[in-house]
Amino acid sequence: MSGTAFCFDLDGTLTSTEILPCIAAELGIAGEIATLTRLTMDGHVPFEDSMRLRTLILGQVPLVRVHEIIEAVPLSAELQSFVRDNADRCFVVTGNLDVWIAPMVARLGCRAFSSSAVVTPGGVQLHSILAKDDAVRLLRRQGGYERIVAVGDGANDVPMLREADIGVAYGGVHAPAPQTIAVADIVVNDASSLCKLLKAL
C-alpha cells in the first residue's frame, strides 16, 4: 500500500448527520443548536466561540446519555468500511470533544485528533479546541507518511484542507461551504465516488 494518510472531518462527513444537534434534542433545543452549527459550518460564527458556547450548553447532558445518543448517530456505511479497512492510516480530525466522541471513534476503529474536555461533577468543561491544521502538521512530522489527504465539508475544515497535500471538499451529507471548496483540490459529492478516489490515491 502507498504511504498516504487520510484525515476525515467527523460531523457531516463520516457521520450522515451533525452530532451536536442530536445531543441538544435531549434539552429540547435541537433546532437552536442546529442553527448555530450551520452558521458555524458556513463560517459566519468563529468555530472556537461556537464550540465554547455549545459545550457550555450541552455539557449539562450527562455523559452516559451523550454516549447513548452518539451510539445511535449513523455513519456513512461506505466511508466507515473504508476507515475500518485502512484503520492504520485513517484519522478522525474533529473540533468535537474527546469525551463525547470516544464511542464513535471506537466504532470507527481508527485514531482521532479532537478538542479536549474534562468531566466534572458540574458537567463537561472545555479544555482545548483543536486547530485542524495542527493535526495535519503533527502527522507530517511524526507519521512518516508520503502524502496526507484531508476530507471535510465545513468552514472549520479550511485550515486542514489547506495544510494537506490533497484537500477534498465533501458534499455527501450537505453542500460544502464555499470557502471549503475554494481551498480544495477536489470536490466530491458521493460516498462511493469518494471511496473509489481515496483507494486510488
Partner: protein, 224 residues
C-alpha cells in the same frame, strides 16, 4: 491491455472564442448541457469520471451537485495561465494506467463513443479523429484500413487540409501529458504514428460550430 481506468473531461477553459460568458460544457442544446450529454454517454463505459473545472467553476460544481453526484470534480484555479494538457494531467489525480481524455465542448454520437472506448482497451494509445468540419481544425494525416475507416494517425498539421481532423479525444497513459506543451495533440506527436479511430462528433469553438452541432444532434437522434 486492460479496460480504461476512467475518463477525464476538460472543462476549465475560458471558451473565449464562443464568448457566451460561461464554460462551453454548460451550453444547453434542447435543454441538456453538453456536459450532461457527455456524462450520460460515458457512465456505462468507464468506472470513474473526473471533470476539471476552472473558469466559472461554481456553475459546473453546482450543476454536478444537482445532476451528477457521482462525478469527481478536480479544481484548476490557475486555468487562466495553464493549458488543457496541464488541466487534464491534474484531472488524472488517482489514475495511473490508461485514461480517456476529452474536451468538455464535444458533442459525441453515443454509439461511436462506445466503439472508441471498446477499441481503446486493445491498444496503448488511441487517437480520436473526425470528419473535418470545425472552423479552426487541426488536420491529421491518416492511414486508412481496408474498409475505408481510419486506423492510424501519422501527423497533425494546420495545413495541408485533409478530410480528417484531430477530435480532441484520446485514450492513453497520464504521463504522456508533459508540462509545458501548449496543445494536447503536441503531447501525442512524439508517439506518432499511433492507432486512431474515427468518431462522429462536433466540437463547439465558435458560434458557427454551435449552429452546426445543433443541426448535427438531430442527425444523431435519427441514426439511433
Amino acid at each position: 491491455m486492460q479496460a480504461l481506468e476512467g475518463a477525464v473531461i476538460a472543462c476549465a477553459g475560458l471558451g473565449s472564442r464562443l464568448g457566451m460568458g460561461m464554460p462551453k460544457c454548460m451550453i444547453e442544446i434542447d435543454g441538456v448541457t453538453l456536459l450532461s450529454r457527455l456524462i450520460h454517454a460515458l457512465q456505462p463505459l468507464v468506472p470513474r469520471i473526473q471533470v476539471v473545472v476552472g473558469y466559472r467553476e461554481e456553475l459546473i460544481i453546482d450543476h454536478c451537485a444537482r445532476h451528477h453526484r457521482d462525478v469527481v470534480l478536480v479544481r484548476n484555479p490557475d486555468y487562466r495561465t495553464t493549458n488543457t494538457a496541464h488541466s487534464i494531467r491534474m484531472g488524472s489525480v488517482g489514475m495511473q494506467s490508461r485514461v480517456l481524455y476529452l474536451d468538455g465542448d464535444l458533442i459525441i454520437e453515443p454509439s461511436s463513443l462506445a466503439a472508441f472506448v471498446e477499441a481503446a482497451a486493445t491498444v496503448p494509445l488511441l487517437v480520436g479523429v473526425t470528419r473535418a468540419k470545425s472552423t479552426q481544425a487541426v488536420f491529421v494525416s491518416t492511414a486508412d484500413g481496408a474498409d475505408g475507416s481510419v486506423d492510424q494517425v501519422s501527423a497533425f498539421h494546420r495545413d495541408p487540409v485533409t478530410a480528417w481532423e484531430w477530435a480532441n479525444i484520446f485514450a492513453g497513459p497520464p504521463d504522456l501529458l508533459v508540462p509545458g506543451t501548449r496543445y494536447v495533440y503536441e503531447c501525442i506527436e512524439p508517439l506518432l504514428p499511433a492507432a486512431a479511430r474515427a468518431l462522429e462528433l462536433f466540437e463547439v469553438d465558435t458560434p458557427e460550430d454551435l449552429a452546426l452541432a445543433q443541426a448535427g444532434i438531430n442527425g444523431f437522434a435519427r441514426s439511433e
